[in-house]
């Protein structure tokens, strides 16, 4: 079947099998390898992308279900002005070691700050509770997301 998905503002049209998973469409058909393909069982959250503005596990959505819808991946975070604060936060706070979980963590962190500009550590931990990191022990991921929230809050005050 032919489907069209708008990924990071660009429409990608491909002929796919109905059983094609969104994560494979993003990586193989659209060629965007920033989204990682992890456990395949909707446990690890490495494949997290936004579907119509909400973070979802793309290993558990059919590409066909996203036909006509909007997807945002980690490649869509950076703008002409530079890195998104959530990306900068992971750099500043050493929010990754191996980096496998990072794209998913950043997509969830970005969604959280959009909804709740001043999240508590507990709220951050709840937001990322569907994602697994085997390196950091999560502390630096929580710090990175908080760094991004604080950076945005202070830049809005200064603006």
């Amino acid at each position: 079947m032919q489907i069209s998905i708008t990924i990071n503002g660009e429409t990608v049209t491909r002929d796919v099998e109905p059983r094609r998973l969104l994560v494979h469409f993003i990586r193989e058909d659209a060629g965007l390898r920033g989204t990682h393909w992890g456990c395949d069982t909707s446990n690890c959250g490495a494949c997290t992308v936004w579907l119509d503005g909400k973070p979802v596990k793309s290993c558990t959505v059919l590409a066909a279900q996203a036909d006509g819808h909007e997807v945002k991946t980690v490649e869509g975070l950076e703008t002409a002005d530079g890195l998104d604060p959530i990306q900068q936060g992971f750099i500043e706070c050493h929010g990754l070691q191996c980096g496998f979980c990072t794209p998913g963590m950043m997509m969830t962190g970005r969604a959280l700050i959009d909804e709740n500009p001043n999240p508590s550590d507990q709220e951050i931990r709840e937001a990322i509770s569907g994602q697994i990191c085997r390196c950091t022990g999560y502390n630096n991921i929580v710090k990175a997301i908080r760094w991004a929230a604080e950076a945005e809050a202070s830049s809005e005050v200064n603006a």
Partner: protein, 289 residues
């Protein structure tokens, strides 16, 4: 790599269209709601439908509203929408308490109320919530719709009274002024299925319990409920002693199995303890504490 077996896919344009598609394709067709049970089962080849009928476009299945003295939850309402619903929180704290411990926030963005009910997993939390609240579901087929109490909905693990050519459209919950409610769950880690969970509502009036409901999951309580424990409480003061006795009756109504989540006697102990805690908080909330 886990990937589903080949299948066809079509988007339903209305509930009537979904039913027509189900009739056309027969038992090899499956409705696709949030997909967070069906797609993993398809990857494991536990489910192998030849036709997926996607019902995500059906706005008539969305929305949470009050109709008369009932709360009406559309089948395609997501877990997150239940979690964040002010109208559900206003009437029953149990919804928010249960949803906070169902899967994780990402899964809750996709998983639906109707999908959870129809999946009928014996460890499903919303089934226990619905059973505790004595909710009913509306099931629609080509010849019309019928309303079925949730306590008559399950034929057994993973099986319900919904026929292959029918669709669950709504969950309806009676509004009970003055009711307090609560949900208590023990899980091995965040996002896991319950080792055991208990939910309840209690209405206390004139110092005695005038109405109550108890729901249990993951411990093989028939229809996820404990009617004998409920009957015991009616007309009695919500003292610790009475609540404890009701909780013991609830535990006796379970038939848990030993598995990787724990031995049967531990789960039965949890059923009693969690029922007691849920009842105690429900009764306190009903009395405005």
């Amino acid at each position: 790599m886990q990937t589903p077996a080949p299948t066809d896919y079509v988007r339903a344009t209305s509930v009537a269209n979904a039913i027509a598609l189900l009739e056309e394709h027969g038992e090899e067709a499956r409705l696709l709601a949030g997909g967070h049970s069906l797609l993993p089962m398809m990857k494991l080849r536990v489910a192998r439908p030849e036709m997926l009928i996607d019902i995500n476009d059906l706005d008539e299945l969305r929305g949470i509203k009050v109709e008369g003295d009932e709360l009406v939850i559309g089948a395609m309402v997501t877990h997150n929408e239940v979690l964040e619903s002010p109208v559900l929180a206003e009437h029953y704290a149990i919804f928010r308490e249960a949803e906070k411990v169902i899967a994780d926030p990402l899964v809750r963005n996709r998983g639906t109320v109707g999908g959870s009910m129809c999946q009928a997993d014996p460890s499903e939390d919303l089934s226990a919530v619905g059973s505790a609240l004595k909710a009913s579901v509306v099931i629609q087929g080509s010849s019309g719709s019928r309303t079925v109490p949730l306590r008559e909905f399950h034929d057994g693990p993973y099986t319900t009274v919904v026929e292959p050519n029918e669709i669950l459209t709504q969950v309806r919950v009676p509004i009970r002024p003055g009711a307090g409610s609560a949900y208590e769950k023990v899980e091995r880690r965040v996002g896991d299925w319950a080792v055991c969970a208990a939910g309840s509502f209690v209405v206390v009036s004139g110092g005695v319990v005038t109405d109550c409901g108890i729901g249990l999951t993951a411990v093989s309580a028939e229809h996820f409920c404990a009617p004998e424990a409920e009957a015991f409480l009616i007309g009695k003061a919500p003292t610790d002693e009475n609540l404890r006795e009701a909780a013991n009756l609830a535990a006796a109504a379970t038939d848990p199995s030993s598995d990787q989540r724990g031995p049967a006697d531990y789960k039965r102990h949890l059923a009693g303890e969690l029922t007691f805690r849920a009842l105690k908080r429900s009764a306190a909330a009903s009395q405005g504490a």
